[in-house]
Symmetry: C2
Subunit: 258 residues, 2 copies
């Protein structure tokens, strides 16, 4: 398919690469920032422009890969006409296109993208939704050409996936930040935790997270919990997080005690 990318950030960059690798043509790149548009367009051999000055080449699909805040404005600036219009946002309903496009849908990749980090796009779950059966079929064909995991998901399912992604990515990473800070204070390197971090993920995936739950909270070991809270006595913020997550584990593991 011939594709226009509206947006030239991390999601657009990773998408562009996956599209080219799988035989699609990225024919146009539009961005607020000329340098960003140009840089990505040069990689794909596309024409480029900014939201205020751009003559659209002929294409089948336009993918709006911009921030949630900018999305509405960019759809208005780059009207999709008869092209299949897609956005890539986890928490924006498909209906943002209503009245602005005839053919539309959502292509939400469940992954965190980082400039310079290679990711195997074929493994990324792509959540899709479209406004008609015909458009769903076209979107399904496009998504299946990029990834082996394509999941039909309505706007509420997608919002739930986005929330789950916040838990397992943003919140988990924040716990890593806190652990890193604790180790730094004692002059211990963060990568001591590497085997444990990797095993935590592997174990939860292999046996399911409920069965994988261990630790002082799960076994109600008040002695250890007390020692940890004492160690955190100078960090009331972390103490609060420790208490809340410990209580949450306890009420999950020993529901009768709640």
């Amino acid at each position: 398919m011939r594709i226009i990318l509206a947006g030239a950030g991390r999601v657009a960059g990773h998408l562009a690469e996956a599209l080219q690798e799988n035989g699609h043509a990225v024919v146009g790149v539009v961005s607020r920032t000329p340098q960003h548009a140009q840089r990505l367009a040069e990689k794909t051999g596309a024409v480029w422009g900014t939201f205020s000055s751009f003559t659209l080449p002929t294409a089948d699909v336009v993918i709006y890969a911009v921030s949630d805040q900018a999305l509405e404005e960019v759809i208005t600036a780059i009207p999709p006409g008869r092209m299949l219009a897609l956005h890539t946002a986890g928490s924006i309903p498909m209906d943002i296109f209503k009245g602005k496009a005839k053919n539309y849908g959502v292509l939400y990749p469940l992954q965190t993208f980082t400039e310079g980090r290679q990711i195997d796009f074929r493994e990324i779950p792509l959540c899709i939704e479209a406004n008609t059966p015909e458009n769903k079929e076209r979107l399904q064909a496009l998504a299946s050409s990029l990834s082996r995991r394509v999941i039909p998901a309505g706007s509420e399912q997608r919002l739930t996936l986005h929330l789950a992604a916040v838990l397992v990515n943003n919140f988990v990473n924040h716990l890593f930040v806190l652990a890193d800070g604790l180790l730094r204070e004692k002059e211990l390197p963060f990568d001591l935790l590497q085997p444990l971090m990797e095993e935590t993920v592997a174990k939860a995936l292999a046996m399911g997270p409920e069965k994988a739950q261990t630790g002082p909270a799960a076994r109600n070991d008040e002695n250890v919990i007390k020692k940890h809270l004492e160690l955190l006595s100078c960090s009331p913020g972390m103490q609060k997080i420790y208490r809340l997550l410990t209580e949450s584990i306890q009420s999950n593991t020993h529901p009768q005690k709640k």
Copy 2:
């Protein structure tokens, strides 16, 4: 070295295997439960017994790999004499051996052990501490034969490592449990999150967790945060966790806003 294991649980089981593989002899296994002692002893060709009836074979080292609560009682039941006495607990000071042993220390493996799950023991950081330079040397030799990462760590450093392990293992796994529950309600499979979970760990290790922090909290996206809190309106417990972790990320990312 000739080694006696006091305890026949998960830590003892994984240790026994690593010891045998690296040329040591597990000559005795003692446990409260005869069946457990027997089962592990048969794997290693050791003699076995219970805490109440056991004649110690000659050995260089006795490793007490039992629960924190049982540790003191087991040391008394199986007195180490002149053997090097080690425990494996993250949150128990080395001094628990004071007056009960002449030669003692701690061998704390920073990993979560699960029956039936293979783990590469050479990659597990082993935190060591001993009561004399001579014992430290013996312990260093033993630990280095099992793992490529041996870290001298005093009792307070070890307690900090244990706390950090609770954050990146127990608490992270609990976030997986909560995400799993959210997806189940919407009939979505947990393993959709696999690539994201794996990338979260890989990214935090590659670039450091502070730089890896993204998401609605880090970019102060109040729209998305509001949508997520609404989605959690029937789960006040999860709402509370979402709020607290969001605030904690915000005060880390935008400290001036605190």
